[in-house]
Symmetry: C2
Subunit: 316 residues, 2 copies
């Protein structure tokens, strides 16, 4: 067993306290301007190599009801016997010193439940992207739990970043808020795997919102090239209506991903994109240009070792 | 006269053909992974030192009517005898190969009008930020025309980037699209200087949108600390209703900026933020860390010379 695999085995055996310590250690072990330390890189690459489950990315504008929905998904997955890790990324902590973090406590878990773990993390910056640290935390949770949920405020950087780690990307929109759809229609926003219309208890407005979304999606279907048909799920997280539909849609997407090499390919692409992103963050376009040809597809299997190697080359 | 000032004088004397050539030359002269060439840096620093007018940034989600509004502002400023430059930043050109660029022709100018110039530029990336090149183009236009309008698709990167160059930032929202407001309320979106509710001919929905915006702004006023009260202007670019109100609000903001050192300070802060951003883009966090202490306030007066000097130091 490699040192990394041993550390991962210890982490899995150590329960929530071990995971909490590992996540805290990530902050020190992943230098945002330099290389990861050797222990951190070994653990993370072991986690990349041996996932225990899948990652659901939940994104959408503030106030759309993502936290309530995360809580509802967590409860359903726990009831089905799956372990669940949650990463809630909070962009406002950059500005308000954490005012919205209080909000995160809406996601309730029992301290006695060893199979439910919630962690709030600061965003990359005010625009709400995922820090390297948040991506690494999601990879670690993915190696421990059957389901990892990463919740970010979307449109813009975080919507792009969550694509670095989500197996299934769920975009939440609400009745009477057309901006997200406009971004999607204009091709600025990546197409999610599933679209949720929240607050479906709002009646006619929710039905219209759903019809609007389906209309917007029709544009993509018409232009061809998609072999996954993006479902639109209407739900009310407060009444629970529609949650089963969402779980069904996520399961369908997972089943689709598991046909052939889709899931493996998606994760390889993500690992390489994350590696390039980490290098660009640390050493800019000039640094990435300098070592781009040294990144090979095989680095997807151990992106953190590759990051260490490449950052070392770039550091004067 | 310095070489840069001479080149700027030639540019001003050369009319639209000279400006068109200068903007095209920027693409070659501003290496996105390296230093600007000496001629480009000299011209741009001369433009920074000697502005002819102010920059209005127009942002908002796709479909909100920014192009129509830009066209209306251009016509009004021209009628008032002011020269107008427009930069329309097109994020979709990254994906569709320019499908939306056709749309840009909605901004009509007469080829014979020497004092109206419209240029479409690609965005930084799919998320729609301003490239260094677009910021530099705006600085050049600012040195030539009484009004420069920079139009970007907003929320996210471009909304942050337009703050690098706009003297007056105008956010456009439309009735029934609450996402932008939610971003503002959550503190993720920077507060603009003026908010426009477009499609005011939509009646009750427009009035409600305006009331929503004013409610959201009330939160900020209540928290104190702002000495500019953000006005909310309802308008219909198609009927022309409200355009005069917007021009009045922009003039008021300009007058407020020109009290004391506000405009000068804002531009100094922008120049330094742009300089840091250019270095981070080229050499990452590690590069910026290495030379951060070498950036001084005086670099705001000649940011492109500073960029050359610092990038040279960072290039191995």
């Amino acid at each position: 067993m490699t040192a990394g695999a041993q550390r991962l085995a210890d982490l899995r055996a150590g329960g929530k306290p071990a995971l909490a310590r590992a996540l805290t250690a990530l902050e020190a072990g992943l230098d945002p301007a330099g290389a990861p330390d050797a222990e951190t890189a070994a653990l993370l690459d072991a986690a990349v190599a041996d996932p225990a489950g899948t990652v659901i990315g939940l994104t959408g504008p503030p106030g759309v009801g993502k936290s309530t929905l995360t809580g509802a998904l967590l409860a359903r997955y726990r009831a089905a016997g799956l372990g669940v890790g949650v990463i809630a990324v909070d962009p406002s902590s950059q500005i308000t010193g954490g005012a919205l973090l209080g909000d995160r406590t809406r996601i309730r878990t029992s301290p006695e439940d060893e199979q439910a773990f919630v962690r709030s993390l600061a965003a990359r910056d005010r625009l709400g992207g995922l820090s390297d640290h948040a991506v690494a935390a999601a990879l670690l949770m993915r190696a421990v739990y059957g389901r990892t949920i990463v919740e970010t405020v979307g449109i813009g950087q975080s919507e792009a970043d969550i694509g670095l780690v989500a197996d299934t990307l769920v975009l939440c929109v609400q009745p009477g808020s057309g901006d997200s759809l406009q971004f999607m229609k204009a091709g600025i926003m990546e197409l999610p795997d599933i679209i949720v219309v929240t607050k479906a208890d709002m009646g006619a407005a929710a039905r219209r919102a759903r019809a609007d979304v389906e209309g917007a999606l029709g544009l993509f279907a018409a232009s061809g090239g998609m072999d996954w048909k993006v479902p639109v799920v209407a739900l009310s997280a407060s009444s629970g209506e529609g949650i089963d539909d969402l779980i069904g849609a996520i399961d369908d997407h997972r089943a689709w991903l598991e046909q052939g090499e889709r899931l493996a390919r998606r994760r390889e692409k993500q690992a390489l994109a994350f590696l390039r992103d980490c290098i660009r963050t640390r050493h800019g376009r000039a640094g990435l240009q300098r070592i781009l040809t040294e990144i090979t597809d095989s680095d997807a299997a151990a992106p953190f070792a590759a990051l260490s190697r490449l950052v070392e080359k770039l550091t004067p």
